[in-house]
């Protein structure tokens, strides 16, 4: 009797599991007659306005579901591991520091966006074979707490050199480049500035200057950094050139001036891309989504939701952005091929110098 019960449970279990399997199968295999839902894979910072895709859905009949991953590194690695059998249809958020990894793994189906001629030419030039399409740009820079320096009557640092100066001892907190994409961008900034021979020496000086390395950007910005939450004690942090306008937009109570500012000579240019994932069941629909992501409608939404610069020439920047954000004329950059060749080695070197 009991045994029969056990058998029954096991059978029921198998049936449940089988049903579960077929349920997910029907979801992805539904034919073109059914309305299509595209899965847009993105990182945690991809936060467009609520309902931004409604227009796209109305025009094309295609719905969009966003699935977010924790950080850009994991997003891209996971895409590389599932190349050809992707977890979604379109990926948003592979940047120039990680692009090589995705291209090596053949993650994307090349597509030249219908909007290509309107997009930032420099960004477009990074992908001559059109594997992905640039969608936004931004700069990773040192941010400082303006009040902290004003109160003490001290001039804030103005360069990467300054950060290693004992005058700024115990003031900087950086996210770990092994686990954070702005952290990686900042590491690349130092390599762009000091070259293969000099960057480790500079980091050694930073280490002797008591720089604090933490796990992620949010750990740094909302933790030890004093400019954001007011709880931390360090006035310097690695963040974005657009963090000051974000502070103003989200200020509660409202304020006119940003509590933080950017050290312009420390900025590293980040270009983010989106692309059609190879192996998607809906390549045509996915391409239309890429077109929408590079359209003026979507590009106009970027500055105030994600605090990045649009790449579409006709997109407009809101006032608060123009006033408080800073756009370095000559940001630090590194050739993608050089990043591809050096990245893992640089990370190991960083690890042995800084995480002892």
């Amino acid at each position: 009797m009991r045994i029969r019960l056990v058998m029954l449970v096991v059978t029921a279990a198998v049936v449940v599991a089988a049903c579960g399997g077929s349920e997910s199968a029907t979801k992805t295999e539904s034919g073109n007659a059914e309305p299509v839902t595209l899965t847009l894979l993105a990182h945690e910072s991809f936060t467009p306005s609520e309902g931004i895709f409604d227009e796209f859905t109305a025009d094309t009949g295609i719905s969009v579901e966003i699935v977010r991953s924790t950080d850009a590194g994991t997003l891209v690695t996971k895409a590389a591991l599932t190349a050809g059998a992707p977890e979604g249809d379109v990926l948003w958020g592979v940047d120039n520091t990680l692009l090589s990894r995705a291209l090596e793994a053949d993650v994307f189906e090349p597509y030249r966006s219908a909007n290509a001629e309107f997009l930032d030419a420099d960004a477009l030039a990074l992908v001559p074979n059109d594997e992905v399409t640039p969608v936004d740009t931004g700069d990773v820079c040192i941010n400082y707490d303006t009040a902290w320096y004003a109160d003490r009557n001290v001039a804030p640092p103005t360069s990467l050199d300054d950060l290693a100066d004992p005058r700024y001892r115990s003031q900087l907190v950086v996210p770990n480049p092994l686990t954070s994409s702005p952290g990686l961008a900042f590491l690349l900034a130092s390599i762009a500035k000091y070259g293969d021979d000099g960057w480790t020496t500079w980091w050694e000086k930073l280490r002797d200057n008591d720089v604090l390395v933490v796990e992620s950007w949010s750990d740094a910005y909302y933790g030890p950094f004093s400019g954001a939450s007011g709880k931390g004690f360090r006035p310097l942090v690695v963040s974005y050139a657009s963090s000051p306008p974000a502070e103003v937009v989200f200020a509660d109570p409202p304020r006119d001036d940003a509590p933080t500012a950017v050290v312009v000579d420390t900025c590293f240019r980040q270009v983010e891309f989106a692309g059609v994932l190879r192996g998607t069941k809906y390549p045509e629909q996915a391409k239309r989504l890429v077109d929408f992501l590079t359209s003026v409608t979507f590009q106009n939404d970027l500055p105030l939701t994600q605090f990045v610069y649009p790449v579409h020439r006709d997109a407009t920047l809101p006032d608060v952005f123009v006033r408080h954000s800073l756009r370095p004329d000559t940001p630090l950059t590194l050739d993608p091929a050089r990043i591809a060749a050096g990245r893992t080695q640089w990370l190991d070197t960083f690890s042995s110098v800084m995480l002892r």
């Binding site: 591991l81 686990t179 995480l355």
Partner: protein, 533 residues
């Protein structure tokens, strides 16, 4: 014992019984053997070995080693007093206290990590201290179980005699109790050491930058940096180290720590009131209970607070179905975990039962599967996951990108435990019963059903509970293999904990509380199955 074992082989045709071991062996060969070969090929094939020329793996290896040693010592220090009280004293609620003290080990590492994030002050978080404290807490149960079992068998007459001869308590401890306990102490330390050496979930949540074990560095390289070659090197190196340590601790260990065989005696405990210093014993129990329960209480309290205010918001957001920015779909994670656990349960139970049957009735050929089953134990879960990633890529049907790979990995982790649990139970089935059934005209199938299956069904239920507990709590392999949108509960918790935001944190506590309850329920099944032995 040997006689019984010999007799058991007579009832079933040996050749056919040995065949029952085939599916399990094939499963292991495919999903463990092939991946291991693929890992080794990856190591010798590429410039992956470059990583060994940097100082990084050595530094990580050194940290892994010393934190594991320190964790083992700390666990012993915290657990021995209460082990003594539980082994030597009788009091109301003794069984309950023991059950609570050993319950910690049943919890998934992610749950424990989350609890300690909630409990430790900010200044201690993401430090080696946090890692060691959580490891020690986790392993109190191991010490109480392993050392306690031997302590109960030490005849109190020996210490009484020493006392009569004028030995002070400390001297009795040093000259009588400790030498007799030594083998258990060594075994417990070795277990805790190995466990902490391959720790991943705890380190992911509590370790800071650079404070990583080899295990979590493998996952970091494979998952975030995308340096699979170096990850393979570290995985193979760690596996070799683990096998060497495990072999040493079972071969040379007993020769160094020579233990006297203790007779099986009924544990003699004195009433706690009659103890020479009842207050000390009571205090030890009270302090231990507080230490053991604090993280669990933190978990529940944390699930009821958003920011610094009391709120049911966390629970409501979990069950209300509202989706928060940056949140994970809790209901989806629970249903994924349930589905994965069911598939893993069926695979592990069927293969495990067959393998155990072959081991008991299939002669020496039947025992091949039984020994193969130990291989996944020697590999860490992250290594199992990494091996699958390397072996089953685009050239092998891209199985690594399939949903099924997660329950398959869980079945590999659970299979050795299932077989370990079932073999002694099957072996203990009296051959006489089968003889009687055969005499009464029952076919081997009928005998199998109404004798062996009937007598082991509680053990089977226990094994089932174990598989479910392993599956719903498994984090190492899952973190490498789960697909986006199909996260299991532990993976979802780890993702929530990696984010900022009061509500997200509360949701992580809610899910951890749920998972803790689920695991404890599953393990109660196991305990009951275990009692059937």
């Amino acid at each position: 014992m040997t006689a019984v074992r010999h007799r058991t082989t007579s009832n079933y045709p040996q050749g056919w019984s040995a065949l029952a071991g085939l599916p399990g062996a094939a499963w292991l060969a495919l999903f463990v053997g092939v991946p291991v070969v693929a890992l080794v090929v990856r190591v010798v094939d590429t410039d992956s070995l470059r990583v060994l020329r940097t100082s990084v793996p050595w530094r990580i290896g050194w940290f892994t080693l010393w934190q594991a040693l320190l964790s083992a010592v700390t666990a012993l220090a915290v657990a021995l007093p209460v082990t003594w009280v539980l082994a030597r004293h009788d009091f109301r609620m003794r069984r309950t206290v023991r059950a609570i003290v050993v319950s910690g080990f049943l919890l998934p590492s992610v749950v424990v990590g989350t609890a300690f994030v909630g409990m430790l002050p900010a200044s201690l978080q993401r430090t080696w201290i946090a890692v060691v404290v959580a490891h020690a807490w986790f392993n109190v149960a191991v010490v109480v179980r392993v050392v306690g079992a031997r302590w109960e068998r030490i005849d109190t007459g020996l210490t009484d005699a020493a006392a009569l001869l004028g030995a002070a308590p400390l001297r009795r401890l040093r000259t009588v109790t400790l030498p007799l306990l030594a083998p258990a102490l060594a075994a417990a330390s070795a277990l805790v050491f190995l466990f902490c050496f391959t720790s991943y979930g705890i380190v992911r949540l509590l370790g800071g930058p650079g404070r990583v074990t080899i295990e979590s560095d493998i996952a970091l390289r494979a998952l975030q940096i995308g340096d699979v070659g170096a990850a393979a090197v570290l995985a193979v190196a760690q596996a070799v180290f683990l096998i060497v340590v495990a072999t040493l601790s079972t071969t040379i260990g007993p020769r160094i720590v020579r233990g006297v065989a203790l007779p099986r005696i009924a544990a003699r405990r004195i009433g706690i009131g009659a103890a020479r210093r009842p207050r000390i014993a009571k205090m030890i129990v009270a302090v231990t209970l507080v230490v053991v329960c604090a993280p669990l209480v933190t978990l529940v309290v944390g699930s009821l607070r958003v920011g610094s205010a009391w709120s049911l918001g966390g629970w409501r957001s979990v069950f209300g179905g509202e989706t928060l920015r940056g949140s994970v779909d809790v209901i989806a994670a629970v249903s994924t975990s349930a589905r994965v656990a069911v598939v893993a349960l069926v695979i592990a139970l069927v293969l495990g039962a067959c393998t155990a049957f072959a081991a008991v009735h299939g002669g020496h050929r039947g025992r091949i599967g039984d020994s193969l089953v130990l291989v996944p134990l020697a590999l860490s879960p992250v290594t199992v996951g990494l091996g699958i990633i390397v072996a089953f890529g685009p050239n092998a049907g891209n199985l690594r990108a399939s949903w099924w790979i997660v329950p398959i990995a869980h079945s590999l982790v659970a299979l050795p435990l299932v077989v370990r649990l079932l073999v002694p139970v099957l072996r203990a089935v009296p051959a006489g019963l089968r003889d009687a059934a055969a005499t009464l005209g029952a076919s081997p199938w009928r005998t199998l059903r109404s004798i062996d299956l009937a007598l082991t069904r509680r053990a089977l239920a226990g094994a089932g509970g174990l598989v479910v507990a392993v599956s719903v709590g498994e984090f190492g392999a899952s973190s490498l293999l789960t697909r986006r949108g199909a996260e299991t509960i532990p993976v979802a918790i780890a993702r929530l904990m990696a984010r900022t935001g009061d509500v997200l944190r509360t949701q992580a506590f809610v899910m951890s509380t749920l998972l803790a309850v689920l695991c404890i329920a599953a393990m109660i099944l196991v305990e009951r199955g275990d009692a059937a032995r």
